[in-house]
């Protein structure tokens, strides 16, 4: 018995030494590698749903269910986001009190650029989303910022997405440790369980896309932001990416963050980056 425990002790300490020796190498192999992450993320969905065309993932639940897709396509003849789209177009063209317009704040006059947002601002050291950039544009021109979750913000982003439809998501991660940290932070937020119901974003949108919760079909995480903003029947109105994050948190009984909190900006960065190569489809309509 004693000999046995001695052997056990020896092998245990040997294992400990081995672990101590190898662990630095494990950490090194674990370094942030967004390109590899994006590839793995996309392949996961492509293999899980071999019949779904890659560019179709951006249509959320409709890519998962033929019946729903047919109904949606009929609805698209008179899309529910049309009012917001028209309003956004008009707002975009209307000058601020100082005579400038939104077009002055964005590359290419703000047309066809949705696929480049969010981007990492190396001066600020943080992720800048389209919604944030729009409110910064307003404030820089002496206008009050809009609510991040709906109405005007949804109309403006609807128009900007519409002018970018079909363009492929193209998010860059500059060679800056803070950008890698933002990506990693967003990824961590995405996969961390929280709230009373103990769900992570991934529980529903990676583990269970295509499944039903009650009558609703869960959308795949891949390309989920490409369709934003969306008209949701459940909301009886338009909602932005900020609104989607806040309501996801509150529906799983977690404490929502403030719209455009660092974590939300980072998770948007992560989700958009892993959707690189998939087309912008927003504004969208969802049940």
């Amino acid at each position: 018995m004693k000999a046995r425990s001695a052997v056990l002790l020896a092998s245990l300490s040997a294992a400990l030494v081995a672990f101590a020796l190898t662990s630095p190498r494990v950490v090194a192999a674990d370094k942030v590698d967004p390109a590899t992450d994006a590839k793995a993320f996309q392949n996961f969905f492509f293999q899980k749903f071999p019949d779904v065309k890659h560019e179709d993932f951006v249509n959320g639940p409709y890519s998962m269910n033929a019946d729903m897709k047919r109904q949606w396509q009929e609805k698209e003849e008179f899309p529910p986001y049309e009012f917001a789209l028209d309003a956004g177009k008009e707002m975009f063209a209307t000058p601020f009190k100082n005579g400038k317009t939104y077009a002055d704040c964005f590359p290419n006059g703000g047309i066809g650029i949705r696929q480049n947002y969010p981007y990492f601002d190396t001066k600020e050291g943080k992720v800048v989303t389209l919604e944030l950039a729009l409110n910064r544009c307003r404030e820089a021109n002496g206008e009050a910022p809009y609510s991040y979750v709906k109405d005007e913000m949804a109309s403006l982003t609807a128009y900007m997405a519409f002018t970018s439809r079909g363009k492929l998501m193209d998010i860059k991660i500059p060679d800056d440790p803070r950008a890698l940290e933002a990506f990693e932070n967003g990824k961590r937020y995405f996969y961390t369980r929280r709230g009373q119901l103990n769900f992570s974003c991934a529980s529903c949108h990676v583990q269970s896309p295509g499944e039903r919760i009650r009558a609703e079909i869960l959308a795949p995480a891949l390309g989920i932001l490409n369709a934003m903003p969306i008209y949701r029947s459940e909301w009886s109105g338009m909602g932005t990416i900020s609104r989607r994050f806040v309501t996801c948190n509150s529906q799983t009984r977690a404490v929502p963050l403030e719209p455009q909190a660092d974590e939300y900006r980072d998770v948007e960065y992560f989700l958009s980056y892993v959707a690189n190569g998939l087309p912008i489809s927003g504004p969208g309509a969802r049940p």
Partner: protein
């Protein structure tokens, strides 16, 4: 509220809530209250009054199955309540509309889990058995109380 099984009133049916049964249930409650007054009093009373003894026997005969029924009915209500168990969001359950597809259908649970403690443990915190599960830890995160979980287990065992 207590629900009694009669030929007209099954656990799953709304009939149980209509007036005659409410009255019936109220009278059962009264007998039950009488029967469950502190035991010592009841015992001395038992020795003294044959009438009370009869009443008690009547109550005892009726109350036990009634109590099991009422717990299962209460459990079903909790299981279907969106703010409580909300089990239909993920599971097919007999008697429930528009079920989700994430979890397995809940049926034959008594043969699958003869030990009710197993069912209780799954509802309390399934992540202990399966860290990847979607199922919320209803007990650990205080979504349901122990009594509520117990009532739901009563209900699940009828499936």
């Amino acid at each position: 509220m207590r629900k009694i099984l009669t030929p007209f009133c099954r656990v799953n049916s709304l009939d149980c809530q209509v007036q005659p049964f409410v009255l019936w249930n109220a009278s059962i409650s009264a007998i039950e209250t009488f029967a469950t007054t502190p035991r010592n009093d009841a015992l001395t009373a038992l020795a003294r009054t044959p009438l009370l003894f009869l009443l008690l026997a009547f109550a005892a005969g009726l109350v036990d199955p009634a109590r099991a029924q009422s717990a299962a009915a209460e459990g079903q209500k909790l299981a279907f309540d969106r703010g409580k168990g909300n089990c239909l969001t993920c599971h097919v359950i007999k008697g429930g509309d528009l079920p989700g597809t994430i979890g397995p259908e809940l049926k034959d649970l008594k043969s699958k889990y003869p030990d009710r403690n197993e069912l209780t443990a799954i509802i309390f915190d399934e992540t202990r058995r399966n860290p990847q599960t979607m199922m919320p830890p209803f007990g650990r995160n205080r979504i349901l109380t122990e009594q509520e979980i117990s009532a739901i287990v009563d209900f699940l065992q009828t499936l």
